[in-house]
């Protein structure tokens, strides 16, 4: 392989093959280091999985007090959600009677988008959703009934996290 090497007297000298191999290895190392660092530091940190867990927990805490659920719960008095970015669907039912109560807060389209994403359809604006199941006691007059509190929480915030 001949290349032009400029020094005081321009001359044509041959490039040793080991030099070519060293330059190639160097280029590969640089590319690997830069791409791995860029993928970590230049990509946005997606905190929605943690945030959705906190949202579901906050909703459950609104409804229950030391494990005893309030039959007449109202999430509006406890959570003030920006309807575009948040979604909460809380369902409380008794396993011993026919008591059932459900309340939805926020943008219901978030749940639809999550269900679509769960079916494997890849689309850029998919929100993050999670469902929590809590075993609770429901006060019914003087006695306590066993019940289940389901909280489905979803967060969109795509631009900030993806």
């Amino acid at each position: 392989m001949k290349i032009l090497f400029s020094n005081k007297r321009a001359q044509v000298i041959s490039m040793p093959w080991h030099a070519l191999i060293i330059i190639f290895i160097l280029a590969v190392i640089v590319a690997v280091i830069l791409s791995s660092i860029s993928s970590v530091f230049l990509s946005k940190q997606d905190v929605r999985p943690a945030e959705s867990v906190l949202l579901a927990r906050a909703a459950a805490e609104c409804i229950t007090d030391f494990g005893i659920a309030n039959k007449n719960f109202d999430l509006n008095g406890c959570l003030t959600l920006d309807s575009r970015n948040y979604f909460v669907n809380a369902t409380l039912y008794s396993t011993e009677s026919n008591f059932y109560r459900n309340q939805v807060l926020g943008a219901e389209t978030i749940k639809t988008d999550c269900l679509i994403a769960d079916r494997g359809v890849d689309f850029g604006s998919a929100p993050i959703c999670m469902e929590s199941k809590n075993y609770v006691l429901i006060r019914n007059g003087d006695k306590l009934e066993k019940g289940i509190l389901l909280v489905y929480a979803g967060i969109r915030k795509v631009e900030e996290n993806v």
């Binding site: 940190q45 959570l79 970015n85």
Partner: protein, 103 residues
């Protein structure tokens, strides 16, 4: 030294110069990427928002960074992030940072 030895010496010196240059350029670029203020601001506002959301009433914590809370958003530099807690959030300046009080 003969002509072939001369050429090999030139290539060896050239390679050392190239390696040093690449090492310097790489260090500079990596330092630029990892110390970017935008990255730190983004991480800080999100982590503070999560802290606020997970904090119970009466919680107080100090962030050693210049952040502000406006409405339901945490701001630092050009970055901002929204939190959802229904509790009142207030901030006071302390030496080297900001004290955030929830509830």
């Amino acid at each position: 030294m003969n002509k072939r030895g001369d050429q090999e010496l030139q290539w060896a010196v050239g390679l050392i110069v190239i390696i040093l240059f690449v090492y310097g350029a790489l260090s500079y670029k990596v330092n630029n990427i990892t110390s970017g203020s935008g990255i730190k601001d983004q991480a800080v506002v999100k982590q503070v928002a999560l802290l606020i959301d997970s904090a119970g009433p009466g919680s107080e914590f100090i962030i050693y960074k210049n952040i502000s809370v406006e409405g339901k958003k945490v701001r630092s530099g050009l970055e901002e992030y929204e939190f959802f807690t229904g509790l009142k959030v207030s901030t006071t300046s302390v030496e080297g940072g900001v004290s955030v009080r929830v509830g």
